[in-house]
């Protein structure tokens, strides 16, 4: 099975190529079905290929396809190990569901087939990223998903805001890649190759200092892709894309690439505790920061966007506190419930004729029961209500962090606070959208979405309910599954594990309490009488205003980086380049010209004048020669 693992990549790639050239001819539903089925086929193949890992009988394998850049040890090679297989399964599985959903969601769009071309291309890129056997190929996938993100965010390119958002996403990601590339430079120089073989024994080439540098630089890359402070600003804007895109790329898969990167490089982070702690700290700060912003958002997708940023922060806490399994676990469960939330939001937006403002919703539960139920499940899951998926994974991350002691306990505290806030804003969203009285604009008649959309919702809801049981303190399935991938790390220092015994119960209880408190407060506030809500909101008007505007970070970046940058570029281009440098060039030419103009009158045009000069010259030469001859 492993020998043909490239099929997982090739199927969506073939789909992208095929749809690019023939998609339009295939017409509306067919193109979507082709794309969805190809991704599903990849999923099925991945499941079959992963069977040995389930059985715990297989070892990680590499399949070399062809040589790419031999001088830097880069080739097209696939690594098939539990970590990459887990990522592959989630990407193809959740991806396939979202593809199916999109058939319904994108119904009637003039560029229907093009949308699925990009989606398949994205699947290819994401799978390249997770299946890569060396950093160069990982970077290939890394950038390819960036490209698809660009294409899909600005899918409705006639909207200037969409085009700008796509560009912003790509450029901010590039800034992260800058750090990533430097990390790769260090690795290549120290090891002579970019193969993942370096991770078998990073001590061969790296000192602690270099490992810290590599770890921090990779964090820069990861922060770009996974929307962490300070590079998270692109993700909320990315909501300009169609909702399935937000679900697939900006919630379930691409944005978790940073988490995957840290997990993949666990061996290096083990060498550099400072870098690992920084990862966790950045994660914690981002989690809290974004969660507070999410409280005040009015746009249904904006809430989810900031929530994604916040949840990614959780994953960073996990992998940063060396609880890699917990991080990956949360990645997986988050893929389920966040994809579900986005798809549900998409279903709502669809039903509300593209209305995204939650102030104009309310009371939708009656009209779209499936959407409301599934989204309710997801809301509870993200709020950390047992026994849904979010509870298990979040609990594991917090438990592991707490268990590390020291600084990590502070991060645990932040995480706990964030958990409460998360429960609050998610409940707020649910209440504003589905409960209460309708506040719709005139002429809107909400309706339940078609089957292609609701079936994926139900499937994801099932995963959200059941996914958590893959790795409970009682039955650590995922941990054993991933073990081969983290063997070396485990052997060297040992990963963080959740606390055990009574501590574990207490921690879990506290976390659940925080979540329930958040739910209770939000419910009381938003489902309760309007006057009370107004009064409370009035009292907190100032922070809410701050949160609503996302702390004005975009404006801050604009004023401190973009504007001065453009001003300096303008100065360089028009004053310095055209004025100074070209001025020197033209100045030299001007001097020559002026000299020419000065001596120009010597050329009188009269032959006889020239003759006299010639004669004078001859006489001069004559005198010179004669005097040299001793006259």
């Amino acid at each position: 099975m492993t020998d043909f693992i490239w099929l997982v990549l090739a199927l969506p790639a073939a789909g992208a190529v095929f749809l690019h050239f023939f998609g339009k001819r295939l017409g509306e539903p067919a193109a979507g079905w082709v794309a969805s089925l190809l991704v599903s086929a990849a999923f099925v193949y991945a499941v079959l290929a992963a069977v040995p890992f389930f059985q715990g009988t297989a070892h990680p394998e590499s399949v070399v396809l062809w040589s790419w850049m031999p001088a830097i040890g880069a080739e097209f090679a696939i690594r098939w190990d539990p970590l990459s297989s887990l990522m592959t399964l989630v990407v193809t599985g959740v991806g396939a569901l979202i593809h199916f959903y999109a058939i319904g969601y994108m119904h009637g769009d003039p560029r229907f087939s093009r949308f699925f071309t990009y989606m398949n291309l994205f699947a290819t890129g994401m799978l390249t990223l997770v299946l890569a056997d060396n950093f160069a190929m990982l970077f290939l996938g890394w950038e390819a998903v960036g490209l698809c993100s660009y294409l899909l965010i600005s899918f409705w390119f006639t909207k200037p805001s969409a085009a700008a958002a796509g560009k912003k996403a790509f450029i901010v990601n590039r800034i992260g890649d800058f750090g990533f590339m430097i990390a790769l430079m260090i690795i290549l120089t120290q090891f002579g190759t970019l193969s993942f073989d370096v991770l078998d024994d990073p001590h061969l080439g790296l000192t602690t200092g270099l490992a810290t540098a590599v770890g921090l630089l990779m964090l820069v890359g990861a922060a770009g892709k996974s929307a962490q402070i300070p590079l998270y600003v692109w993700l909320p804007d990315a909501m300009e894309g169609p909702t399935p895109v937000s679900a697939l790329i900006h919630a379930a898969t691409m944005v978790t690439a940073g988490v995957y990167l840290v997990a993949r490089n666990a061996a290096i982070y083990e060498m550099a505790p400072i870098a690992a702690t920084t990862v966790a700290t950045v994660g914690a700060l981002t989690a809290l920061w974004a969660a507070t912003i999410a409280i005040a958002q009015k746009d249904i997708k904006a809430v989810l966007a900031y929530s994604t940023v916040s949840q990614l922060g959780y994953m960073f806490i996990g992998v940063g506190s060396t609880a890699y399994v917990a991080g990956m676990f949360h990645f997986m469960t988050h893929a389920f419930f966040k994809a579900l939330l986005f798809l549900g939001a998409g279903s709502v937006i669809h039903a509300m004729s593209d209305e995204q403002n939650m102030d104009k919703m309310g009371g939708l539960a009656k009209h779209m029961p499936v959407t409301a139920t599934t989204m309710g499940i997801a809301t509870l899951a993200i709020a950390g209500v047992p026994p849904l998926a979010g509870f298990w994974s979040k609990d594991e991350i917090l438990g592991s962090a707490f268990n590390q002691g020291g600084w990590m306990v502070v991060l645990w505290g932040i995480g706990l606070l964030t958990a409460g806030i998360t429960a609050f804003y998610m409940t707020r969203q649910f209440v504003m959208v589905f409960l209460g009285k309708p506040r719709w604009d005139d002429g809107i008649h909400p309706h339940e979405s078609p089957k292609t959309m609701t079936v994926p919702l139900m499937a994801l809801a099932a995963l959200t309910v059941g996914g958590g049981f893959l790795n409970t303190p009682f039955r650590t399935g995922l941990e054993r599954y991933l073990e081969p991938s983290f063997e070396t790390v485990e052997g060297a220092i040992g990963m963080a594990h959740p606390a055990e015994g009574s501590t574990a119960w207490i921690l879990a209880g506290v976390a659940v309490l925080a979540g329930l408190l958040g739910i209770y407060l939000a419910y009381r506030l938003y489902a309760g009488p309007e006057e009370r809500r107004e009064r409370v909101l009035q009292r907190f008007a100032r922070p809410i205003f701050t949160w609503e505007n996302a702390y004005w970070v975009d404006r801050f970046y604009g004023k401190t980086i973009v504007l001065p940058g453009k001003a300096v570029a303008g100065w360089a281009a028009f004053k310095f380049d055209l004025g100074f440098i070209d001025g020197i060039v033209n100045g030299v030419a001007g001097v020559v010209k002026r000299f020419g103009a000065t001596v120009r009158p010597l050329q009188t045009g009269f032959v006889r004048n020239y003759g006299v000069m010639l004669a004078a010259g001859s006489v001069g030469l004559l005198i010179w020669f004669l005097s040299r001859g001793g006259l």
Partner: protein, 176 residues
């Protein structure tokens, strides 16, 4: 003694002719002066036993070339005095000055006596430029340059014809 007398007389004639080229107001007089110089030189050539050269001098120069000159003078109708006043500033003074300087240098050199005009003759062979002698040399050692001159003359003739044929007038005609 005969040679001295001839030299003085013919030299004076040659210089007179040359000066008339420079100063004659009427080009025809100038041409006549030049002809005088050419004749004197021809005689000098004979005195140097350069028979062929002397003959060619008379036939080609005095005969063909000067005729051509006179022809052109007639053609462009300059059988009248021309305006010889100088328009270019300092032109005459400069020329006179330069001439003087050269003469002065020559004088200094001669008077100073530190300058040999010619290296003492290394040979006492009497060169006799008869037609046979010259012809023999021309068609043996100098055959290549000689043939090259034929090419030169043909090209010159062709050029002259072309100039006459495609001259300005012809172009005017074509335009009209």
């Amino acid at each position: 003694m005969v040679e001295l007398v001839l030299f003085v007389i013919l030299g004076a004639v040659a210089i007179f002719g040359a000066l008339s080229v420079v100063f004659a107001k009427n080009p025809v007089y100038g041409a006549m002066g030049l002809m005088m110089t050419l004749f004197s030189l021809a005689v000098f050539y004979v005195m140097h036993l350069a028979h062929l050269v002397a003959a060619v001098q008379i036939i080609v120069y005095a005969g063909a070339v000067m005729t051509l000159f006179l022809f052109v003078i007639m053609l462009i109708g300059v059988d009248r005095d021309e305006d010889t006043s100088e328009k270019l500033p300092m032109q005459r003074q400069l020329v006179a000055g330069l001439g003087l300087v050269v003469v002065l240098i020559a004088g200094v050199a001669v008077v100073g006596g530190r300058f040999d005009w010619v290296r003492p003759a290394t040979s006492t062979i009497e060169v006799n430029g008869t037609v046979q002698e010259a012809g023999l040399a021309l068609f043996t050692d100098w055959i290549l340059p000689f043939e090259a001159t034929s090419l030169l003359l043909i090209i010159a003739a062709a050029g002259a014809i072309a100039l006459a044929y495609y001259g300005p007038r012809r172009r005017d005609r074509e335009d009209a």
